[in-house]
Symmetry: C2
Subunit: 216 residues, 2 copies
């Protein structure tokens, strides 16, 4: 197919496709004439992955580039691929501020993770994220016992298993791309569902919200 068809089928503007080509994120098509090339379904699939990671996943281009090369490198074991994805996702998040109380919460987080039996690297960004959250909740006079997070951890554990069951152990490139896409997209989906479930249960308990004007 030509670049115009690629654009139609992916919903990505031609100018953006050309930008991805220049940036080396999308592999070149097969040249047919001066300034023309043809593309196939592998281009379409790659383009859709780039698009999903940048728009829904809000990853920057350098993370996407790193992720694509990890997907394509079939010698890279799956655990390493996941490490690259997790690192990219965590790069979107703010670092701890030193004196925000997160340091003292860190020991509780480490104990919590160890009681869960999770084998997680000492430098996993999630540890400091949890420490920041616990420090903030404590500072606000909310929950102070980290075991309050146990139901969240149980849900996370169950969903991780559910998702891994979808990956065949041999791990072809398409499965690797799917693993990356699910990790990035289902995090967004889970968050959206949590908000909707809240909306529902708050309405059940406290009555429905009167509609308020949407932000423009």
């Amino acid at each position: 197919m030509r670049i115009s068809n690629l654009s139609e089928q992916s919903g990505v503007p031609v100018a953006t496709i050309k930008f991805y080509l220049r940036e080396g994120l999308l592999q070149p098509g097969v040249p047919t004439a001066r300034n023309q090339a043809v593309y196939d379904t592998r281009h379409l699939r790659r383009l859709r992955l780039i698009r999903a990671l940048t728009t829904i996943g809000q990853l920057d281009l350098s993370s996407v580039r790193e992720l694509l090369s990890a997907v394509l490198d079939e010698d890279l074991p799956l655990p390493r691929l996941y490490q690259v994805v997790h690192r990219s996702l965590s790069a979107k998040e703010p670092a701890s501020h030193g004196n925000d109380g997160a340091e003292s919460a860190r020991a509780d987080v480490d104990g919590f993770i160890s009681r869960l039996g999770w084998q997680v690297a000492p430098h996993a960004p999630g540890r400091s994220t949890l420490a920041q959250v616990m420090a903030a909740l404590r500072g606000l006079g909310c929950e102070s016992d980290i075991e309050f997070l146990a139901p969240y951890a149980a849900a996370a554990d169950e969903l991780a298993v559910h998702e891994l069951d979808l990956i065949p152990a041999d791990g072809f490139v398409t499965d690797r791309a799917a693993a990356v896409a699910r990790t990035v997209l289902l995090e967004v989906a889970l968050t959206a569902m949590r908000r909707m479930a809240q909306e529902h249960h708050v309405a059940l308990r406290f009555g429905p919200a009167r509609s308020i004007p949407r932000r423009r």
Copy 2:
């Protein structure tokens, strides 16, 4: 306490506190002398809330301002307060691109939510987010049946109930602030735990990841 103590106890630099005061996010202290004022624990608590929302929650100042006034307005029923929080959180997310296939997935999402029995507004941003995710997964040849999301919805439902059980029905301002803080912070915590649970289960199935150098 003086502004320097406020800074020490909150971990927020004096310059930033002064900025929040100028912006009207933090209520003024009681003036004691020319250019001096004293602050109390209500200032400290408000400052910590602002800080948690902007750093961990990554909300912009206009969202924080809107949230604070919704927290302080005790006439605003809890469902409306949650609506304001959900809207602020969704404002961080990208809008659909029109031709990304999300429109055709929207009917499936609406059916899914109705089968869940969730009472969710037709314009709830989560609906279009889910439609975008489903369209992307389909385009990538991953899951096409929306029922694949059922375990995520079940987890979201359970956690929403767990969290609401923490709010007394009378809803004082401190409880309202706590409800907002939990909504924003536990979304971040859940995401972090999902990544760690993945790291753990991927290692269990495919062997541990060799440590790769951390991004600087």
